[in-house]
Symmetry: C2
Subunit: 208 residues, 2 copies
């Protein structure tokens, strides 16, 4: 549904006080824009005179970026669903003891999903950064700034998704799981910072 | 037109080998997402019990973020128009001497527009970073990660827009103008890096 709404309507909904869509959906869209721009660089490079040698690699690269784009586009709605489920769990009755127990279990299972969804988004964005590197190295020079925008969007999306992991992890009663997802988010962030800055520097150098 | 297309269609068009939409439009949309998320934080904070003291400031902040969002949303189409005009200028006939002169003039005027549009986008994104700071400082804690996503989106958009200034500036025959826009992009980037990292650190601290 949300992917079918116009960009204007999505931005209006994002700006509103409604709980969804929020930063999680914005992160998935930024990541998808990063993947889309990698595909664009591939599509422009494929068939360019003088760049025949990189064509097989550009074909393979486009296959990977389009797969990640499909995944990230699905996450836009998944993030909304995860957040809505969490809000619904908080609204469950808490009169009897069995009510309370059921509510706590529903909240915990929803927080878990609301933490896994952005972590999955962060993983996909991390993969987009690596694809943007090859697009920036071997892509046609006329669209090299697009490879730069791809990596900037993917890294901002990765950091945004990580923030959503960090804001939900403290509510998890399963501290082992919380520790594991937080550590993975930390690792993706640190490695993503280095890799994305290297791609940016490479692109900045080619832009002139 | 482009703002009325669905998110899915926009991403498909972005991924295609067509010259527009490209990184410039993606940058404007990221900036608009940043402004929208500042508005969201304001909208959620306004009317919250215990946060009455910041309500007048949140109202003023929302006024500014919505103004910037309107401006950035308009830039999505402006970037496409500037790029299309540049492509059209390059395709002008170059048979006679007067053809050639007219073509060069059209190209130069189009490159100028294609440099001014992203610079304007970078300026607006820089302003969004400052608004995100106040949203991150004074906004309701339940949506504080959204203030973080706002600043990450705005800074990525600023860097993306600057890349589009840098890729076009070398084609400008007016070197005084080229030097001026490049210096302004440099300054926005440097100052934006410090300011956005400060907002991110502030939000990261509040997220826990």
């Amino acid at each position: 549904m949300i992917m079918q709404s116009s960009i204007e309507k999505f931005l209006d909904d994002l700006a509103s006080g409604a709980p969804t869509p929020g930063g999680g959906s914005a992160a998935a869209i930024m990541g998808a824009m990063g993947a889309a721009l990698v595909s664009m660089v591939c599509n422009v490079t494929i068939g360019k005179k003088g760049l025949e040698a990189v064509e097989p690699e550009m074909n393979a690269l486009r296959g990977q970026s389009e797969k990640l784009r499909t995944r990230l586009q699905a996450m836009v709605a998944e993030d909304v669903a995860a957040f809505d489920a969490l809000m619904a769990a908080y609204r469950l009755p808490k009169v009897s003891d069995s009510d309370k127990l059921r509510r706590i279990e529903a909240i915990q299972s929803s927080v878990r999903a609301a933490t896994e969804t952005p972590l999955d988004c962060a993983r996909a964005c991390s993969a987009v950064i690596d694809l943007a590197r090859r697009a920036g190295e071997a892509g046609y020079s006329g669209v090299i700034s697009d490879a730069g925008v791809a990596v900037l969007a993917a890294y901002a999306a990765l950091r945004s998704a990580a923030l959503n992991v960090y804001i939900n992890a403290p509510s998890l009663k399963d501290r082992e799981f919380a520790g594991r997802v937080t550590a993975e988010a930390d690792h993706l962030l640190e490695s993503g910072a280095h890799r994305s800055e290297a791609v940016y520097a490479l692109v900045r150098g080619r832009v002139g």
